[in-house]
């Protein structure tokens, strides 16, 4: 893919992400002008960039979206959830198309048809908004849809609506041979124009006269088509607004905007009522009711209706009244015209308002966009370097046998220290590059929650805490799927509908909270809901019914332990498969995803109060620190973040209950696993002192009895492949500095083995 196209795809994705966020925020607060602007800018930029390539359906659809947003920005179309739905659909479609562009540098054949349909739906919202669906209004002259005369444009001798063009040429316009002033001067129907200076000029010495700093505002009486044709080559640098001068506006102006909108809406509904009930038996009642409503509306907006209602032909009078009200309720009159042209001061151009309108989105140029593959390659190399440097201590050992003076050994050790330090710094520097904030995935679930709550008729607020917590990109990306699943589960099975919630004295709006924080070398993610919680007895019953546990084991379980059964494969507590929270994919899938990443998962739930699922994952997957232990002449690795403590205990302190062995350490009862037995190593003479490594698996502690402890080592764990992959008790292999292979233990599996 050519570099320009690749950049377009990457940038557009970011913009879509930003637009989605703005859209969802806007849904919370439809009056947030900043979000509307941001949304508009994002969509506008995508449209501009798409125009560079021949992706007509994409350009066309986004263009329709931009136009819709423009009308929303101007306040002509109210922002509603339905509007948000279509705009979100447009963004989703764009993501699809970008995927296609990335894969095949072209759009699929069906794109044109899909694009047409979608842009029609978008345009339908512009043409027939909730309050303006009357034919008279949508066919209205430009004056009716025009904005009031802006304060920064002087009074001009024009009649009717004219177009205010804001033209912000690119800073490099001169290099592409443009002469923007000439473009402005040759604008068809040009009435007035102004050069808008930047907020601050560089000093004469710092000024680069070949970079363009100014922008233009101009008023033209030409038609939109003529203007479109004139600015065709710089279409993404101009914005148009229809404005109307004070003299052409309707005479009334005292109606409050909210009242006006409401009155207009009433008028629309009355019109459609009349249209729908014509020739029906209820027509008379209908006409009478419309007459009353119109009279009330007129009273509210202080407009006199004439003539009096004609009892013989009420319909005709109503039509006349409609016309009077329709005319009175059109757009409010423009504001009084600003100061006369001669005294318009230059400073006016520097008003923040103007700057805001002409400023193009800031571009950060201190950032590099690098593909993650390149970073991965760098990370792998750094990992290899760390493993390779591990060979040096072995080299020193060998040198000791040959070099009697010890000088060479000292030198090797010194070099090892240096390389060690550099490689560790290198690794942490690369790690920093790979670190991304959790917000990259967490913010996109807003959408999921919104869509699902709408679909299920539940009221849900989504709260994110600690979105700035950083973790390795690979981990963060992989986490998206489990979190989606957990959130879906919470919405579908956990949170009750508003009525049930109110009945049980809970707030009507349910809460789903996702918390992220760093704990030592791990990142912890919690998904909490204040729903109905999980029925532990139901879980136990189901597990017994499916034969996943036996009664004996259940009897010895605490409630919390029993709850962890939900992570067992094949246990789904909801009988029917819902179309929302996965088809048969249960919590076991989430658990296995988390464990595959080297993490752990646990669940806590209180009936009627809610559920909390905690996932703990390593900060990075690349290089892991392993603690080495020896079992029957073999070396094995245990991830250091799982090791709680290493202890030497007396064999006499072991307590036995049937076949199970336990030891009390710091007032905790820790079950023991004899690793020699598990690995079927020959028995050794009873040793009085035993080495116990206490490990934490999914929140439960167990003690592994090993032969010997060895120092820790940094290693890259490679997954087991081929025949070896069926050995569940190993999570992977790592190459040691002396060329030998270390098997990394899969602790969870080992503990499970012990119990079965």
């Amino acid at each position: 893919m050519n570099a320009l196209l690749a950049q377009f795809v990457a940038e557009s994705r970011d913009l879509i992400e930003a637009a989605s966020k703005a859209l969802l925020d806007l849904e919370q607060n439809a009056q947030d002008k900043e979000q509307i602007d941001q949304l508009f800018r994002a969509v506008h930029t995508i449209k501009g960039a798409a125009g560079l390539f021949e992706f007509t359906p994409l350009t066309k659809t986004v263009h329709a979206g931009e136009d819709l947003l423009d009308t929303i920005r101007a306040g002509d179309v109210p922002f509603t959830s339905d509007v948000a739905d279509v705009l979100l659909e447009m963004l989703d479609r764009c993501v699809d198309w970008l995927d296609q562009v990335e894969a095949q540098e072209a759009l699929n054949e069906d794109a044109a048809a899909i694009g047409d349909a979608l842009s029609q739906r978008l345009r339908a919202l512009i043409d027939a908004p909730g309050i303006g669906a009357i034919p008279e209004l949508s066919d209205a002259a430009p004056e009716d849809t025009a904005l009031p005369w802006p304060d920064d444009v002087p009074a001009l001798p024009v009649s009717g609506a004219v177009t205010l063009v804001t033209y912000t040429p690119s800073v490099n316009a001169f290099f592409s041979g443009d002469d923007p002033l000439r473009t402005v001067q040759s604008t068809p129907g040009l009435v007035w124009s102004r050069i808008v200076s930047p907020k601050e000029w560089p000093t004469s010495d710092d000024l680069d006269p070949f970079l363009l700093h100014i922008s233009f505002r101009l008023v033209s009486s030409a038609s939109q088509d003529e203007l479109d044709a004139h600015f065709a080559y710089v279409s993404d640098e101009v914005t148009y607004e229809a404005i109307v001068s004070a003299g052409d506006a309707p005479a009334e102006g005292a109606i409050d905007e909210g009242l006006r909108a409401m009155a207009e809406q009433l008028l629309v509904s009355q019109r459609s009522l009349l249209a729908s009930d014509q020739a029906s038996p209820a027509e008379d009642h209908c006409t009478a009711s419309v007459a009353v409503v119109l009279q009330r509306v007129a009273q509210a907006v202080s407009i006199e209706l004439s003539p009096e209602l004609d009892a013989d032909n009420p319909r005709a009078t109503i039509d006349q009244w409609m016309a009077i009200l329709g005319a009175a309720l059109r757009k409010p009159e423009p504001k009084a015209v600003a100061a006369p042209p001669a005294v318009v001061e230059e400073e006016q151009a520097d008003e923040p308002e103007t700057i805001k309108q002409t400023a193009s989105p800031a571009r950060a140029n201190s950032h590099l966009r690098v593909s993650s593959e390149r970073i991965d390659a760098l990370m792998n190399l750094a990992g290899e370097l760390i493993v390779a440097k591990n060979a040096m201590p072995f080299l020193a050992q060998r040198a000791e046998t040959m070099d009697e003076t010890g000088e060479l050994v000292r030198e090797i050790k010194a070099q090892h220290n240096t390389i060690n330090r550099i490689s560790e710094e290198l690794q942490s520097a690369i790690m920093q590059i790979r670190m991304v904030p959790m917000s990259t995935i967490l913010s996109r679930f807003n959408r999921l929650v919104r869509d699902m709550s709408r679909k299920l008729g539940k009221e849900i607020q989504y709260v994110v805490e600690g979105e700035d917590t950083e973790a390795d990109k690979a981990i963060v990306d992989e986490l998206a799927e489990p979190i989606v699943h957990l959130i879906r589960n919470s919405i579908d099975h956990g949170l009750e509908d508003p009525v049930t919630r109110e009945a049980s004295d809970k707030p009507r709006v349910g809460t789903i909270q996702v918390k992220a924080y760093q704990l030592e070398e791990s990142v912890v993610l919690e998904v909490l809901d204040d729903g109905k919680g999980i029925d532990v007895d139901g879980v136990i019953a189901k597990a017994l019914e499916r034969g996943l546990v036996d009664q004996d084991k259940v009897n010895n379980m605490t409630r919390t332990d029993a709850l962890q059964l939900v992570f067992l494969p094949g246990l789904s507590t909801k009988n029917e498969v819902s179309d929302l929270s996965g088809r048969g994919v249960g919590m076991d899938a989430v658990a296995s995803m988390v464990r595959r990443l080297g993490g752990s998962i646990s669940i806590f739930s209180e009936k009627g109060r809610g559920t909390k699922i905690t996932m703990k994952l390593p900060l990075s997957m690349a290089v892991q620190r392993l603690m080495m232990v020896e079992i029957g002449d073999g070396l094995y690795g245990v991830p250091i973040d799982r090791v709680v403590e290493s202890q030497k205990i007396k064999s006499s302190s072991i307590r036995r209950h049937r076949n199970a062995e336990m030891v009390v350490l710091r007032d905790r009862l820790i079950p023991l696993v004899r690793m020699r037995n598990l690995f079927a190593c020959p028995d050794v003479e009873d040793n009085d002192i035993l080495s116990v490594m206490v490990v934490d698996v999914d929140g439960r502690e167990s003690g592994l009895i090993v032969d010997k402890f060895h120092p820790g080592v940094d290693a890259i764990i490679k997954p087991m492949t081929g025949v070896l992959s069926s050995y569940q008790c190993y999570s992977g292999t790592a190459l040691l500095g002396d060329g030998s292979i270390l098997l990394a233990l899969n602790l969870r599996e080992i503990i499970e083995c012990q119990y079965h």
Binding site: R182, S204, P209, H213
Partner: protein, 84 residues
């Protein structure tokens, strides 16, 4: 040459192209208070107009005109002839 320079005045004649910025800019740096006379100037590239505005040059011969030179007056505004 469309630009004649001396210490107290720069005289612009005919159409001033973007390349002339190379001559005008250093002169404006050296003579920040001297006037730039546009009385006989028929047109200028955006870069030239921008340079005059950015450096705050004292422009002579722009007041009262009905063409592009109106941009060089204090309002930076242009009113089309038939409407002005």
């Amino acid at each position: 040459m469309p630009i004649s320079l001396n210490d107290d005045c720069a005289l612009l004649e005919g159409y001033i192209d973007i390349t002339d910025v190379d001559i005008l800019h250093p002169w404006l740096q050296q003579n920040p208070t001297s006037a730039v006379d546009v009385s006989d100037c028929t047109g200028a590239h955006t870069a030239v107009v921008q340079l005059l505005i950015a450096t705050g040059a004292t422009v002579a011969g722009a007041e009262g005109t009905e063409d592009w030179r109106q941009y060089l007056t204090s309002g930076r505004e242009y009113y089309a002839k038939e409407n002005a």
